[in-house]
Each structure stands twice: as C-alpha cells, then as structure tokens.
C-alpha cells in the first residue's frame, strides 16, 4: 500500500472513529469530545504555522479571539444570521492575520515570538478597553435561541457534536490535503532551510504570509465555533494562556503531523480535567508536560511514532 493510500485510510479512519464514539460514549464524554474537536481545529491551525512552516507564534489567541468576537458581536449586537456571523468571525481572523503578518514577518526567530506575543497582548488589552461592547473579562452569553441553524438546534448534544465533527472534518481533511500540495511542501522546505528555499526560486516571504493567513483563519473558525456551540464569548480566550495552549497541544501530539493536534488536545484535555478535580493548580500539569516534552520528546507523540515506527505517517 502506498504512503498516500495509508494516509487517506488513516484520516478517514479517524473521522469514522469520531462518528462511532458519538453513539458509544456517555453524554459527559461526548460533550467533552465536541469541545476537544473544536479546540483541535485551533490546534491544527497553529500546527500549519508552527509544525509545517517552523514559525513559533506566541500570539495565536488573538486569531481565536478575533473569530470568537467577530462572530459573537455581529450576532448579538448586529443581529446577523448565524452563518453570516460565522463567516464574519473567520474573515476577521484572516484579516487580522494579514495585517499582523505584514508586520511580524519582517522579524524571525525569537523576535517573531515576542512580536506576536506583544500584538496578542495588545489585542487582549483592546478587548478590555472596549468593555462596553465586549464586556471584558466577564464576557457575554449567546442565547440558546440564537444558536440555531435553519431550525436545527445547535445547542443540543447531538447538534453540538455533529457541528463540531463537520467543522473538524473539513479542516482536518482540508489541511491534510494542503500539506501535500506543492505549497505545503514548500512550507516544509522553508522550515528546514529557508535560505536554500529562496535560492531554489521560491518567494519565501509570500509563502510565510499565506501560511499565517490560513493559520489565523482556521484559528478563527475554532473561535467562532466555540462561541456558537458553547454560547460564551470572553476576554479570557484572548489571554496569553490561550496562546500557549495550542503550542502545548501541538508539541504533545506531534508538530508537523496531521493527527498530532487532535491527539494533543485530547490528552491535555483529559489530563487537566482529571487534575482539576484534585487541585485548582492544574496548569502545573501543563508546565511539567511542556518541560518533559521539550527535553525528552520534542517530536511529540505522533512525531515519535513517525520517527520510530510508522515512517509514512502524514
């Protein structure tokens, strides 16, 4: 079996598994899985930039939040219908990524990390500053009645799971396909040796900008989906913590793999879920995992699997 056939089977298999799990799992865990899938979209968006292109951003929360607020504000304050508001969220995130990219991509390495962190911080502070509209840290709720799509209630467990799964599937398959295209391969080349890539005739700057825009837009999809399915918009999602999370998830699951993000979110979610029953210092787990990962297994779970066993893993 060729590598690409194995990959296709793997990807479809994951989706099939997610469908099956809905029928098999008790409601609490099914609800968790809805959340996990939405956050996995965020992780996949981040993975495109970090895992494939090699750019470590510490400010992705601003794209997630742009999607979330773009959706939430147009819906609540503007009275837009759900699909349009959703698109507004994604467009906001993508547009923000374009602007940030034009500035931040003039830097590299550590400077890029700090610049993205600073822009994200600014974003968070701006959200707080315009608290009259955004309700700041407290956030606002999106009424159940509004979260319907053509009569289909998106707040029920089924509604949530199905919507999350559909959105996840689109992003999952779409991104898996993208990284196989010449564009995707060039991103990997940039990660491996940017100067060499330039000297092969590729416009590295343009590639990085496009990667950032897609990455930001996908993060925005996750943000808008989160608001839509869980009914809450708040400034916490724009804080540094929400920029660290996707880095953590992707590192844990395996940067530069297609299934890594989902695995990373899944593990981290349950790790934190379990430990928060014991202590409110559950981020300690996050800290320990980050240190262990970076010292012993920088490839992450799927990455180590790919290195040692399944060399074809996409």
């Amino acid at each position: 079996m060729t590598s690409s056939r194995k990959s296709t089977l793997l990807h479809l298999g994951v989706l099939a598994l997610l469908v099956v799990l809905f029928f098999v799992l008790p409601p609490y865990h099914a609800g968790n899985l809805s959340r996990i899938m939405v956050l996995a979209i965020y992780a996949m968006g981040y993975n495109l930039l970090f895992g494939y292109t090699g750019l470590l951003s510490l400010g992705h929360a601003m794209f997630f939040a742009a999607g979330m607020y773009g959706f939430g504000l147009t819906l609540n304050l503007g009275g837009w219908p759900v699909p349009l508001a959703f698109v507004a969220g994604v467009v906001c995130a993508g547009a923000l990524a374009l602007v940030i990219g034009l500035l931040a991509l003039r830097t590299a390495g550590v400077a890029f990390m700090i610049v993205t962190l600073m822009f994200a911080q600014t974003g968070y502070l701006v959200v707080l500053y315009f608290g009259t509209y955004t309700r700041g840290d407290e956030g606002f709720v999106i009424q159940q009645a509004q979260r319907m799509l053509g009569g289909f209630d998106l707040t029920s467990e089924t509604g949530r799971y199905v919507t999350a799964l559909i959105l996840f599937a689109i992003c999952f398959l779409g991104l898996a396909r993208l990284v196989q295209t010449p564009f995707g391969r060039t991103l990997v080349a940039i990660r491996e040796n940017e100067e060499r890539t330039r000297m092969l005739g590729y416009d590295a700057g343009s590639h990085k900008l496009r990667a950032l825009i897609i990455s930001g837009a996908v993060s925005g999809v996750a943000g808008a989906a989160y608001a839509l399915l869980f009914g809450y918009v708040g400034a916490t999602f724009a804080t540094v913590q929400y920029s660290i999370f996707p880095l953590l998830w992707v590192l844990l699951g395996g940067a530069g793999t297609t299934i890594g993000p989902l695995i990373g979110v899944f593990f981290m979610f349950y790790l934190i879920d379990t430990s928060s029953t014991y202590t409110n210092a559950y981020m300690l787990i996050a800290g320990v995992v980050l240190v262990l990962l970076t010292v012993f297994a920088p490839q992450g779970l799927a990455g180590e699997l790919r290195k040692r066993v399944f060399k074809w893993l996409p």
Binding site: G109, A111, Q121, T122, Y129, A281, M283, L284, L290, T294
Partner: protein, 308 residues
Amino acid sequence: MEFGPHLMLASLEGAVIAAILSLTAMGLSIVFGVMRVVNVAHGEFFMLGAVLAWYVTSALGGHPALGFVAALLIVPVLVAAIAATADRLILKRINYDADRTIVGTIGILYIIQQTTLMTFGPDARPVEAPFNTRLSLPWFEFGENGFAMFWPWGLSTTSYKLFVIAAAVVILLGLWMVITRTKIGLVMRATQQDSEMAQAFGVPVGTVYSLVFGLGAGLAALGAVLVVPIQQAHYLMGHDPLLLSFIVVIIGGLGSLPGTIVAAILIGMSDGIISVFFSPTIAKIIATLLVAMVLVFRPQGLLGKTAP
C-alpha cells in the same frame, strides 16, 4: 490637586517603578546577553522573591526591619540557586536551543507559578516595610510675595519609597563594578563575546551559564523583595514585571546594559505617569504596541548592539 503637584506625584511613583524595573530587566538582559536565551519564566523568579520574602519575614517575626534585612540577604540567593538548578536540569540538556528554551521556560513558568498557588494560596499577602514615614513634599508658586513654597495636601511620598530608589541605584552601580572591574565580570563578558573561545581558554562555560542564569533570577528577586512592602505578595504578580522587562530589554536593545537602564527609566516613568493621568490599560496598550513596532522596524532597539 493641580497639574504640577500631580505630575510630581506621578513622577515619583514612576521613579519607584523604574527603580524596580531596572533591576528586574537587568536580570533578563544579562541572561540574554551572555547566554543568548530568552527566559520566559523570569517574572516567576520575581514573584518567588516576593513570596519567599513573606515567608522569611513571617517566620522571623519581631521588628519588621529584622525580617526585611534577612529577606534581602537570603531570598535573592535562594532564588538564584533555584534558577541555577533549573538551568542544570533543563536548559543544559536542551543545549540552549532557542525554540526549546522558550518552551522549556514556559513550562518552568507554570511549574513555579502553580506550585506557589498550591502552597502560598491565591490571596495577596502584605509584608510590612522596615520603616515607613510619610514625607510631605513641597510645591512652589509665584505669589504676591514672590517665590514661595507650600505643601499641597496629598502630595507626599514615604521614606521607604525613597529608599527603594536609592537602593536600586546602589545595586546597579555595584553590578556595574562587578561586571567591569572584577574577574568574574571579565569571565562573563568573555563568555558573552565568544563562548567557544572562552572555553578554549579554560573558562568553564557551563558553570558560567548556571551562574549567570542564577544572577538574572536573583536580580529579579532582589527587586521583588524591595517592592513587596509597597505591593503585597501574590502568585500572579510575575506577569506584569515579565511583560515590562521584555519591553525594556527590547527597546533598550537585547544585550546592552546601559540601554536597559535608560529604557527602564523611560518605561517606568511613562508607565507611572500615563497610569496616573490616563488609565493603566492605555499605558499597557501603548507599551506593548511600542515593543512590537520597535522589534519590527528597529530590531537593535535604541542602544543595542546585536539584533535578536
């Protein structure tokens, strides 16, 4: 209060902020200058300084000055030791690789912060200042009798705050003397210039790195011990100093010590003044945007030598 006195008050507050900030930022700058790594956990070492100072002063009891002096001597060294251990255990293993160090220090950030949450708790706890007399400050005006001084109500500072400013100056001078006049300082500067060459000359680069990492953390902790009688100790108090230190070091130029001091004074004073006259949020927005723009358009900062 009229504008003049209000400005003076804001400036004094700014000066205190600048004093602490210059110590904290200096720690971050030295670590980057010599080791070429960005320590994201730097703010947590600051917080540890404050929290441990609380433990020391509570344990000792008696006159606050006693506890305070003990804290001033013990805590920075303790925090430096913790940092040096982190360097040995973690940073050395990953060979100071830029990406992995950022991730690793983020991990250390959460470990320190959350452990403090679990032991110290979520509340803010005060530490009493060793001395704290209120000093009214004069303002002047040109009245019918010519130049006259008066003491506006509300325009005051405390002897302790003045002490903090003085202490910071003294410590920075001491640091400058150590770096430029002593053998240890020479070794540090040599390692910064060319670590391979230094190693060839028998300089134990690994040990120097641990020492420098410890020094950076110790300076932050020192700043925290000085500020805790004014601010209170809280497990989240590392966040703002981290951000401000980043801003200072980048604007001043990563690796440039005089640049760090100039930037600290600039940022500290502006933060104080803008916070008093406008809102703290606006001050922070301006500061964070400024850092980003400086990095994008003038990466060497105002006085820096090497681009990051």
